[in-house]
Amino acid sequence: MTTSGVSVVEVEDLHTRFGNHVVHEDISLSVKRGEVLGLVGSSGSGKTVLLRQMLGLEIPSQGSVRIFGQSVHESDRNELQGIRNRCGVLFQRGALFSALSVFDNIALPMRELHTLAEPMIRDLVMLKLEMVEIDSQHANKMPAELSGGMIKRIALARAMALDPELLFLDEPTSGLDPVLSEGFVNLIQTLRRELTLTIVMATHDLDTLAALSDRVAVLADQRLLALGSLQEVITTRHPFITKFFLGDRGKKVLGSIGYIS
């Protein structure tokens, strides 16, 4: 997958404080079109907060976040809707609408566009379900009747409903068994071959991180510790990076794919 020079997400000089508690201090990063950025950090380091700020769900204390060149916190309604239609979000626990069936959950963003005819929506939804390997018999079920792994995959199908150019994934493989999470990684790789897809992904899972990310951003001690390819990042000397990437598990994962000996 080629990455062109256009920045899709730009975070500039971002500070976040909750009362006296400082979460982020002076964070700047950009995500280029077509690349996958992995966000890692210990729990409580503000990965999810940063992701929520990129989505416009939270307003940073200072600094700006621009998506497709437009500020997510200062744009007007129409501009923001334009941005949102080009983004897909997979929340950590799926966030499926529990009052709607699986089918309606995926169809909702398509119906909201008001440009697609209902028969076409039906075909598209079934195609998305097929894509995430959910059997068609589950289409009329309610989210409460589904297992955690299925909820995650259906949530991904919903995030992909509008074929977004930019995809935000919050812990995409947590709660999936290894087979499913490998399937998930394959799925994302296939999608990237077919479409120019830019992905921002917060994750704890080293396998997913190593398999998907073009670049990795490490958040710890309120700062952006390192930003670069996985090989570059693991050369940074910091206790968190050493523990996370070069601990027993990290060595096993990174060693098996030839990053470290």
């Binding site: 437009q70 076409m120 039906r122 079934m126 195609l127 097929e130 409460a144 296939t190 077919e194």
Partner: protein
């Protein structure tokens, strides 16, 4: 509209003649949902008319990007099958082969012919279920009380006092406001009527009897049912959604002892106090208006009140408070524990809980009125 880069140009198609002299439709540009936008339905018609020619060669290899929506658009215009002559790139090939495999949406089960009978029957069974499970819950509470008599150290005092504070102390503001206003209105209307007969003095009897015996307890009960009942149901419901109830069960902490009993006892204690408070404030409102409208002084009003209203009425009002409080908490907990782990059931459960609690409170009031029809009335 946001500025788009040049790769976002929408799809175009042109009829060309291929090398072998065949007629060929060449598609270029972007065949994606965001690029097609509002042209979707027009394009669909246009493509369908092209697809009616079976000899047309479709050339999709010059398309920059095609996503699922674009593929479905083409697929539908072809009548859900491949045209005879089609040249595609490998990744497009994958999309179409996936489309070919996609199963149709399974149809929803049809309405059965006897749906009316099954609805009525289902409703009756549901009512029976509610009744039995409330009785079971109440019985469980009695067993818990017996257990606590034997093991007083296990009494959940903290939870009881927390419930007392939430349902009692924090309800004082709203009950005072409503009570005062009702007292004012009642006193104003009654004094207007009494003035016509020159029976001003009876305002004390009317206000005293109606407020202490009926209005105070009822107002307090309905407000508390709406306020505390709904919050108890929602709290238990959210605990179910969050699997907190299951966590308690696996720790061996029974729901009834730790969650239901403190609420029932807490509201059972708080309610008569709230009733007394509401009655007192409502009487105060009435007294203020009686002074303004009829010129009855406060001292006179208060000194005449014990003669006009026998003490039994106060006990009756307070005991209504105890019964209503415990029943409201019981109903709220019953509905809260029935909530399943989805948000819709949470909403329905809370609504049902409040509606049922208010209805039952009024029924209890009617029962009290019949049983104690001879008590406290001269």
């Amino acid at each position: 509209m946001p500025e788009r880069d040049d790769t976002q140009s929408s799809m175009k198609f042109s009829r060309v003649t291929g090398q072998g002299g065949e007629s060929c439709l060449l598609l270029t540009g972007n065949c994606t949902l965001s690029a097609l936008g509002r042209r979707m339905s027009d394009l669909s018609d246009e493509l369908t008319s092209y697809a009616s020619d079976p000899h047309l060669h479709w050339d999709l290899t010059k398309i920059d990007q095609m996503d699922d929506a674009g593929a479905v658009l083409l697929w539908r215009s072809w009548g859900a099958s491949r045209p005879e002559h089609l040249s595609v790139r490998p990744e497009q090939e994958r999309l179409f082969s996936r489309l070919g495999k996609t199963p149709p949406l399974p149809s929803l089960p049809k309405k059965e012919p006897l749906w009316l009978v099954s609805r009525v029957g289902g409703g009756a069974i549901l009512l029976w279920e509610h009744l039995t499970s409330i009785v079971i819950l109440a019985g469980q509470l009695l067993l818990d009380m017996k257990y606590l008599m034997a093991h007083p150290a296990r009494t959940p005092w903290r939870e009881i006092s927390a419930n007392l504070f939430r349902t009692g102390a924090q309800a004082l503001g709203i009950t005072a406001l409503v009570g005062f206003l009702i007292g004012v209105v009642l006193s104003y209307l009654s004094s207007k009527q009494l003035q016509m007969f020159g029976a001003d003095i009876f305002i004390i009897n009317i206000l005293g009897m109606s407020i202490i015996r009926e209005l105070g307890p009822m107002l307090a009960a309905i407000l508390v049912a709406g306020r505390s009942g709904s919050s108890m149901t929602a709290q238990l419901g959210v605990m179910r959604v969050n699997e907190e109830l299951d966590a308690l069960t696996v720790m061996g902490i029974p729901h009834s002892l730790r969650l239901v009993l403190p609420k029932v006892i807490g509201l059972g204690i708080a309610m008569p106090l709230v009733v007394m408070w509401t009655s007192a404030i409502a009487l105060m409102g009435g007294m203020v208006v009686a002074e303004l409208q009829l010129g009855l002084s406060y001292q006179f009003f208060l000194s005449k009140l014990p003669d006009a209203v026998p003490l039994a009425n106060l006990w009756l009002g307070l005991s209504k408070g105890v019964v209503c409080g415990m029943i409201i908490a019981l109903i709220a907990c019953h509905f809260g524990l029935r909530i399943r782990s989805d948000t819709e059931s949470l909403g329905i459960g809370t609504t049902n809980s409040v509606v049922t609690a208010i209805t039952v409170v009024i029924i209890i009031d009617a029962i009290f009125a019949v049983i104690f029809s001879d008590v406290g009335i001269r």
